[in-house]
Amino acid sequence: METFLDFISFKDPNVFYVVIGIFCICSSSALIGTFAYLRKRALIGDAIAHALLPGICLGFLVAGEKNIIYLFAGAFLTGWLSTFLVDFIVNRSKVKQDAAIGIVLSSFFALGIVLLTYIQNSGTTEQGGLNSFLFGQAAAINKSEVSLFAGILVIVVLIIIVFYRQFLIVSFNPDFAKSIGLKVKTIEFLLTSLTVLAIASGIQALGVVLMSALIITPAAAARFWTNNLLKMLLIAVGFSVLSGWVGTYISYVNFGMPTGPWVVLVLSIITLLSFVFSVNHGILARFLKARKNRRKILHENILKALYQLHEREGNTNELNRRFSPRELLSIRLFDTRNLQNGIQRLKKQSLLKQEGGLYFLTSQGAKESKRIVRLHRLWEQYLLKRTQIDAYHVHSGAEAIEHILSPEIEKELIRELGISGIPEEDF
C-alpha cells in the first residue's frame, strides 16, 4: 500500500516523467490506432514500427550523436516511406497487403540492423543505448522527452478535432468520401503522418514490437463496446491509459520488470474481457441471446403441440386436458430432456400447472398456445393463397416464421386474408 501511495503521489520525479510519458504515448497511439483499425490497416503500424529503426540509425549517423530531433526526423522519414512502399507494392503487383507489409517490414528492419551493426563497429562512443529502440526502455524517459511526447499528443488531438468529419468519412467509406469531393489522398496522407508520429513517439519507450500492440489492441477492445466513433476513440484511450498506468505500476513495484510488456499484457487482458463480457458484441451476450431464442422456440413448440393434442381429440374450445410429457412426443419429436426442462420453465412462467405427474395449461397458457397456432396457420394460408408455393412446402416456412411474427404483421395478415380465429387447415 505504501508503495502504491508513493507511486501515485510521484514521490520520485522520475516516476512522474515515466507515468506522464506513457500516458501521452498511450493516448496518441490509441487515438490514431482507432482510425487505422477502422480503415482495416491495423498491421501497417507494425511495418512502420519496424521501419523506424533504420531512420533512427540514419539520424544518428547524420547528427553524429543521439540528438533526439535528428533521430526523430530520420524515424519519421523511413516510417513514412514504409507505408508508401506497402501501398506501392499492393497497387503495382498481385502481392497481397499482408505479404507486402511483411516484405517492407523485414527489408527495413534488415537495413536497420545493418546500420546498427555498422554504427556499433565504427567505434563511436556515443552509440550506447540505440539498442533500446528494439525493446524499449520506459524507465529511461526524461523531462525533455516528456515534453516532446506531450507536444505530439497535442498535435494529434488538435488535428483529429479539426478534421474529425473528414477522418470519419474516409475511415468508413473512402469511395463515398471521394464522391462528395473530399481530397481523400490528402486526408490519408495526414492520417499516415499522424500514425508515424504516434509510433515514433512511443518507440523508444516501448520498443518496436510492443508499439504495434498499442496501435492495434485498444481499438480492437473498444470496438466491442460501441458503434460510435467518438465513443470508440474515448474508450480506446481509456483502456490504453489504464493499462499504461497499471503496467508502469507493476514495473515500479517489481524491480527489474520491464514496463512495455506489462502494458501490453494488461491491454490484452482488457481486450479478452471485452470480448467475453461486452454488452452487445461479447461472446457471453451472443451466447445468452442464442439460448434465449432456442428456449423461446422450444416453449412455443411445446405450446403448439399441446393445441394439436387437444385438436386430435376434437376439443379446442377449452384447452384444459391433463397430459403427460410422453403424450407430447406422439405429436412432435422433442428431445426428451429439452422437453422436461421446457415444461419446468413454462410452469415457472405460470403458463402450465402441475397436478401429480400430469400437467395442464393455465388460461394464460391456453391463450398463448392459440396465438402460436394461429400465427403458424395464418402464414400457411398466406403462402398458399398469395404465393406460388406448393402445399407440401408451406409448413416448413411457417414453422420458422411463427416465432418471429410481430402483432402488427399478424393484424396485416388477418386483414389481407380475411380470416378470424384459427384456421382449421393444417399442413
Partner: protein, 256 residues
Amino acid sequence: MVGDAISHAVLPGIVVAYFFSGDKTSGLLLFGATLTGVIASAIIDFLSRKAKIQGDASIGITYTLLFALGMIMIASGGGNNVDLDMNCVLYGDIATINLDKVIVDGNLYIGPYAFYVELVAFFIILIVLLVGFKGFKLISFNEDFAKSLGINTGIWHYLMMGLVALTTVVGFEVVGAVLVVGFLIIPPATAQLIVNQLKNMLIVAVAFGVGAVIIGFYVASWFNVSYTGGMILVAGINFFIVLFLSNFSKKLKLKA
C-alpha cells in the same frame, strides 16, 4: 503475415522449454516453440472467427501479447539464464553460431550444431511437401473447392502452420525473429512476380532465397555489418528491382 506472428509468438514457448531443460540446444526447445507457434495460429483463428476481430488485427494482438509474455518470462527468470538474451532473439547470432559445435570422437569438428538442426528441418519440410504437394496446392488456391472435394482443410491448414512454425523456430536462433519473416515472405513474393506456376514458383523462390543469402553474406562481411541483415536487405532490394522491371515490361507490352 502469419509467419511474422508465429516467429514472435514462439518466444514464450522457447522460454518455458528453456526453464525446463536448462539447455539452449535441447530438442525440447524446438518442440516448445513449435507448439506455441501452432497455438498462436489457433488463437488468431479463434479471434478472427469467434470474436469477429479483423483478420490482421487479430494477428497483431496475438503476437504482441505472446511476445510480451515471453519478455516478462525472461525478465522474471532473473540472472540464471544469461544465455537467453533478447538481442539474440531479435537478431539471431549467425556470427557466433560456431560456439555450439558438434564434436565427434573427442576432437573431430564436423560443423555447428545449428547446421544439423537446419538440415533435418529442411528434409522434413521437403518430404512433407513432396508427399502432400496436392493437398497443399488445393488449399492454397481454393479452399472452398478443397472442402467440396471432402478434404479436411483443417488438418492441412494446421500441418502447414506446423511447418511454418518449424521453419521459424529453427531459423530464428540463427537469423532472429524479425528477419526470419523476411526469408519466409520475400523470396516467394519475388517469385510470384515473374512466374505463374506453383512448381516453378517454388524453384524460383528457393533460387532467390539462396542467391540473397550468398550475395548478402559477402556484402555484409565486406562492410563488416550483420550478416542476416545484409541477406534480407539484398532479398528486399532484389524484390523491388524485380517489381520495377516487371512493371516496366508490362508497360512495354502495352505500348507494343
